[in-house]
């Protein structure tokens, strides 16, 4: 193994010297381009996120505060015929929501089991430029919960709305080190592998619903 490493490194160093051939090595960009649509005030970014998330095939409900979340989730489930069972991600914020106010819902905090169809998780940030969510793995957010269900419901606080992917990674960087995995999610799982026909829900969720909380956390 180390022999292979040394051989590859040796060839690379020779090749790089030949590539530069007297000239300077290629420099990094002085500054990185941020598309204009990734910039703007919070209200502008929230509006753009909304537009782009719908464009990517997600749906959105906007509510005023955390207390309104369970009722919004219940309405979404009945509207979409998704039954009345859901799995909650063990995030403190989601667990604090008044789920007992919607007794029709059978709410569990557990691993995803066969037959489960819906999970609610918390997003780290919203990215306006493409209507994208940033989620991360961790004790309070099992990665499987945004992959296995038929419908993934993501709770997003508008205070975490940012313009660009870079801004979202900044928010992530605040709880260093990096999580095992951080994922930018844009719309539901999709494919066009059969005759280029766009189809939704290959291996991941068929539906991505975003509960956008406007205002302060309670």
């Amino acid at each position: 193994m180390t022999d292979a490493r040394a051989a590859i490194m040796g060839r690379l160093r020779g090749a790089i010297a030949a590539r530069r051939s007297g000239g300077p090595a290629a420099a990094r960009p002085d500054s990185y381009i941020r598309p204009r649509r990734a910039q703007g005030g919070r209200a502008e970014l929230v509006a753009r996120f909304h537009e782009m998330a719908l464009f990517a095939g997600a749906s959105i409900t906007t509510i005023d505060n955390d207390v309104a979340a369970p009722a919004a989730v219940a309405r979404y489930l009945s509207r979409e015929g998704l039954g009345d069972r859901l799995i909650l991600s063990p995030s403190a914020r989601i667990l604090r929501m008044p789920w007992s106010d919607t007794p029709r819902l059978s709410v569990c905090q557990s691993h995803f089991r066969p037959g489960d169809r819906v999970a609610v998780t918390e997003a780290v940030a919203g990215v306006a430029e493409t209507g994208t969510l940033l989620v991360r793995s961790g004790a309070d957010s099992p990665n499987a919960l945004h992959l296995l269900p038929e419908a993934h419901i993501a709770v997003l606080d508008s205070a975490t709305m940012v313009g660009s992917y870079e801004d979202a990674l900044q928010i992530l960087g605040q709880d260093k080190p990096l999580p095992r995995v951080a994922t930018f999610i844009t719309g539901p799982s999709r494919t066009a592998d059969i005759e280029k026909t766009p189809q939704i829900g290959v291996h991941g969720p068929r539906q991505l619903h975003i509960i956008l909380i406007h205002g302060e956390a309670t």
């Binding site: 490194m9 691993h111 793995s137 990665n143 660009s164 995995v181 280029k196």
Partner: protein
Amino acid sequence: MQPDPSAFSANARLALDNTKLQQALGKLQGDFRRDRASMLCRLPEFEALRDQARVIKDHALDHLDGYLEQFEERVASRGGAVHWCEDAAAARETILRLCRESGGSRILKGKSMLSEEIELNDFLSENGLDPVETDLGEYILQLRRERPSHVVMPAIHLNAQQVGDAFRAGHTDLNPSRDLDHPNDLLAEARAKLRQKFLNSDVGITGANFLVAETGSIVLVTNEGNGDLLHTLSDTHIVLAGIEKIVPTLSDAVALVRVLARSATTQEITSYTSVISGPRQASDPDGPSVFHVVLVDNGRSGLLGSAFSDVLRCIRCGACQSLCPVYGAVGGHAYGAVYSGPIGSILTPALVGLKAAKPLPEASSFCGQCQDVCPVHIPLPALLRRWREIIFDDPALSDTVRAGIKIWAYAARRPRLYRFFQRLAVALLAALGRKSGFIRNLPLAGDWAGARDLPAPQGGTFMSQWRNHKPHEPQS
């Protein structure tokens, strides 16, 4: 079709007569043109982002050794391991060993062009392991025992009926008279079949779109979510990546993400773009306990110091295939190689040798559209031309061809002589087509004229007409 690039001419003939294939290719190229134009209108900065992408990749390639060392160290600090492989055989052996060390037998795979390059699946099967492809297109191809015909749309050459036939033949446990007429039925069946496999996966093998030196992360891009299910549900995650995939920082990676999906499928971004940094941590409720990165050279370090080093910027988006008129006429399989289209015609001679791949650099009209859409500005026509120059110098080239090219080159550098031959040719062609106004038989170009009617020249050459024409006086 033969999986052999030297059979390009014969393969192309078969492809041109294949109506199903022609329909699929027509749809691919028509849709791509239209959707790419819409994408460009939505993002005015796209051209600037392409320029930036080239700079990022060039910088990374000029410092490949240092960034790879940094990457290796960071992966180790996150609890993962990096394995260096000089060639395809070493990469196959390494992955087999890692699969065996895992103790598991259920191996699942995400889409990886490099795994095709090193012929991983056949090798694992020969050694008693049966990896299952999870990308829908690759899964279909695995059932049909075929190679992908496009970098990002691997099963683009098939129609729904062919996929249905493959599912009936492969899923023998299901009711043979079930309905599979609609793509939705096919999708539902594949989802159900593969979901069971995901839930029981021991080893997940994926590619990587980018390797991030600063953080030791890999960036993995999918639309289906299969890659994320693989690393989340498997005990062992093996990442297979070429050494040229490295970028310095996460900022560089997301800058490239902005051009990748837009170039590949004209989407704004794929559904899932994951930054994966090592195995599960103590607090993680899921994720693999073992994380390996298998770094493969397989000729890349040789390309880096060569006249072809620009191809190492390639981020495998397939835009050059989706627009190429030659690819659009014959499809990917006619190239008889892992990589097809313009990028394949440059990579294949480097990977398998010019002797076998000689027809591929010739399979270009030099229209230049590939270069116009390449997200990292690879000068594809210039590199194809460079292969043709090498072919010209090759002693194996037939003497008649070389003599012909030499005569042409001699005349082309002597305008008077060239014009003399032109006048002669015009007079000859005019005589040949005097009766009908068209030429149906052309000496030395019978094949070409067999499928076309060449209009006979009217009047003299362009140059002689130009001389007789009173040019506009420029207004002062």
